[in-house]
């Protein structure tokens, strides 16, 4: 018994070595990183669908080179991202890494990318501001906007249109939570609003009961900057506690990952204003085509009713890679030099608007202010309220003034009229 097991193991190892050896000459090795464990698991799974959709459309063959994919699972912590990226880079020897998904992972990968100049890193959808603004890395590209860009326009909308003058916030206590809130707060405070209290919860919090009790009841609305399982847990317990305040959603709070969760809890989100890189029911032809491609690629029970921003983000990053690789005929032999030059020049005609890169290799694109609506059959989606084009990383203000605001953190930005 033991003998057979050993022989079997030995043969499969040998077979693995052989196939790898035979195929390595021309195949392009791509590493894919996403949060396939922990609080953001369902987000990671949808990001994988976005990646696979782009790859399927290319037939897993880019400029004549077959693509071999290596998957690294992370859990939203920077340590897990480092572990996963080391595996795909140092063990599997990939040429290009697509990922990660979560904010603090992105910062860790930016630092790691500096030690691996032979590999090109294309961010998946992580949205911490620091990743590309502070000390950026030459071989790290980001084709999605950061959390602050995703917050653009929301503050102004809720202050002027909804009439919310005072707001308390609850958000995840890490880089993306800070960045996403900064985008909302700059806009909201400059319009004249006041943030009375900021509550921070650790990523992966399960029991929000006491936080919910601590929410002030003398404010016009509550801003929720949670995501994934935390968002679902919060809404469930919020409903159990009988909460009925006006809500404002952070970008991943009202994403498809939460809007299609099981149970009644999500219903408290109907009518909630939010902002981010897409609006689910936007009538743009390019967007509608992407939604249809996504729906056709998987059976309804294996996907969300419509792609989440995670799927869209990874779809765009993968397409940017494909576009640049085709421009250089799949040739990476010059140490990726031509490929990276082509990446910088990519103008991506993405389903959620045109995307270009700035000097830090950070995306400039369109942002969408949305509202949650019931589209029938118990399904929720976001409706477009306002689209803002050409949002750059400094949100349209000068770099000096933007630097004065500071790197997003628990206390930054200060709530005042910034311009």
């Amino acid at each position: 018994m033991k003998f057979w097991a050993l022989t079997f193991a030995a043969t499969s190892v040998a077979a693995g070595v052989l196939t790898a050896g035979a195929a390595s000459a021309e195949t392009l090795k791509v590493g894919f990183l996403a949060t396939l464990e922990g609080t953001y698991t369902i987000l990671g799974e949808d990001s994988q669908r976005g990646f696979e959709l782009a790859m399927k459309q290319a037939g897993y063959n880019i400029a004549g080179r077959d693509v071999e994919v290596f998957i690294g699972a992370t859990d939203a912590s920077p340590e897990s991202a480092l572990r996963a990226v080391r595996k795909v880079v140092e063990q599997d020897g990939v040429d290009i890494v697509i990922g990660p998904l979560s904010g603090s992972e992105g910062i860790a990968l930016r630092d790691y990318s500096k030690t691996q100049p032979q590999v090109t890193f294309i961010n998946g959808i992580s949205g911490a501001q620091e990743t590309t603004l502070v000390d950026p890395s030459e071989n790290f590209f980001r084709f999605n906007m950061d959390g602050a860009q995703w917050g653009m326009g929301l503050g102004d909308y809720v202050y002027n249109e909804k009439g919310y003058k005072t707001v308390a916030t609850v958000a995840e206590d890490y880089s993306f939570g800070y960045t996403n809130l900064l985008g909302f707060a700059l806009d909201f405070c400059t319009a004249g609003g006041e943030i009375t209290e900021r509550l921070w919860v650790p990523l992966g919090t399960k029991d929000f009961a006491s936080i919910i009790a601590a929410l002030p009841d003398d404010v016009d609305a509550i801003y929720l900057g949670l995501g994934g399982g935390d968002a679902v847990n919060f809404l469930n317990q919020y409903l159990q506690a009988g909460g009925d305040a006006n809500l404002i959603g952070g970008t991943i709070m009202v994403d498809g990952t939460v809007l299609s969760s099981k149970g009644r809890a999500k219903e408290v989100l109907i009518g909630t204003p939010s902002s981010g890189p897409q609006a689910d029911t936007w009538d743009d032809a390019n967007w509608q085509k992407f939604v249809k491609d996504y729906q056709d690629a998987w059976a309804p029970e294996d996907r969300f009713p419509s792609p989440s921003l995670l799927a869209t983000g990874y779809f765009n990053s993968t397409n940017a890679m494909i576009q640049a690789l085709e421009a250089v005929n799949g040739d990476l032999s010059d140490g990726h030099e031509a490929f990276r030059a082509a990446l910088k020049e990519v103008v991506l005609d993405a389903p959620n608007g045109r995307i270009t890169l700035d000097d830090n290799r950070q995306a400039i694109g369109s942002n969408f202010v949305t509202e949650v609506i019931d589209i029938g059959g118990g399904e929720l989606a976001t409706r477009l309220v306002k689209k803002i084009d050409n949002v750059n990383q400094t949100l349209g203000i000068s770099a000096e003034m933007f630097a004065e605001i500071g790197t997003p953190s628990r206390e930054t930005p200060e709530c005042k009229k910034w311009w």
Partner: protein, 337 residues
């Protein structure tokens, strides 16, 4: 009680005084100076209640753990996996039948059977070999975690509470008065959490009664004190072991349904609850049921008060309690010295 008061008059006085202060804090309307000092009464009372209900959940998991350890000296590090399995089973049952109540007995029995199998197939062969037990149960927990991930995926599952338990109930505790009309405002509290607290209390008291008032309880207590002597007096020790193991595992499964109702079930929860059970029994004293109850409430309170009053350090608080207990009472609060 009386003996304790005679032996430690100062401590007794402090405990009684603290009890009165707590009762006053819960029922009195807070003066403005106090609100300036520590915030609103609503927040305080909620954190207190949430800590106790969370403690109820921790107690359900940890009591099985401590029972198994106390009787058999088995450190079952796969206990968290039993919790997670119970949660998934409970979800499937309530999803299929639409009955939340039915999920509890099914999860209890199914996970209890798994526990019995574990005892018969694994622990019986490893009697007294602590290191092997530890390593093998860690191995089992890793395998089970992967199997569960394979079957149920990485999604978040929530077991829906029935309609009569969803939403809040108004309690008789007054938190303030309306500024406009002067009407009293009463504390609203989630009904489902009250139900869970009630159930945990019933189970805890029931366990205490069985252990202290019945013949089986007597066997179990005798087994905790001296296994060999109990076996020598003609009691079928192995049968008791299997039953206690099954009961302890069943409680973990039951707790999985509870946890799935007011939190959620997902990969990784097994390790979280194993860790909290370890902390609870270390604080409370290995093998002691009242100790598990006390430890669970302390840990629950630390988490909830920490999350409101010192969010940055809330994680540290739990372990700080453990450090203090280990420093001053290395056997745990209720452990036998």
């Amino acid at each position: 009680m009386k003996r304790y008061m005679n032996r430690h008059p100062l401590w007794s006085l402090i405990f009684v005084a603290a009890g009165f202060v707590l009762i006053w804090l819960i029922f009195a309307i807070w003066p403005p100076e106090l609100i300036d000092l520590i915030g609103k009464k609503k927040v305080f009372v909620n954190a207190l209640f949430n800590g106790i209900t969370l403690g109820g959940l921790y107690f359900l998991v940890a009591s099985g753990f401590t029972l198994i350890f106390g009787l058999m000296r088995n450190v079952n590090l796969a206990h968290g996996s039993l919790y997670l399995l119970g949660g998934y089973i409970g979800y499937e049952v309530s999803d299929l039948t639409g009955s939340w109540v039915l999920a509890f007995p099914v999860a209890f029995i199914a996970v209890g059977l798994v526990g019995m199998l574990l005892q018969v197939l694994v622990f019986r062969h490893l009697d007294g070999q602590d290191l092997q037990q530890t390593l093998i149960t860690i191995g089992i927990s890793i395998v089970v975690a992967d199997v569960l991930l394979w079957i149920w995926g990485g999604d978040f599952y929530q077991i829906l509470a029935p309609d009569f338990l969803s939403g809040p109930v108004e309690t008789f505790i007054q938190t303030g008065v309306k500024r406009s009309s002067g009407e009293p405002i009463f504390l609203k509290y989630p009904a489902v959490r009250l139900a869970i607290l009630f159930a945990a209390t019933v189970i805890g008291v029931g366990m205490w009664l069985i252990l202290n008032r019945t013949r089986i309880g007597m066997y179990v207590r005798a087994g905790v004190d001296d296994r060999e002597m109990l076996a020598a007096s003609g009691v079928r020790v192995q049968l008791i072991f299997v039953c206690v193991f099954g009961f302890g595992a069943g409680l973990a499964g039951l707790a999985g349904v509870v946890g799935g109702t007011f939190q959620s079930i997902a990969p990784g929860e097994d390790m979280r609850f194993l860790l909290s059970s370890l902390v609870v029994v270390i604080v409370g004293g290995m093998g002691s049921i009242p100790g598990a109850a006390l430890g669970a409430v302390l840990v629950g309170l630390a988490e909830q008060f920490g999350s409101v009053y010192m969010p940055t350090y809330s994680v540290v608080l739990t372990f700080l309690i453990m450090v203090l207990v280990l420093a001053f009472r290395p056997k745990g609060l209720m452990g036998r010295g």
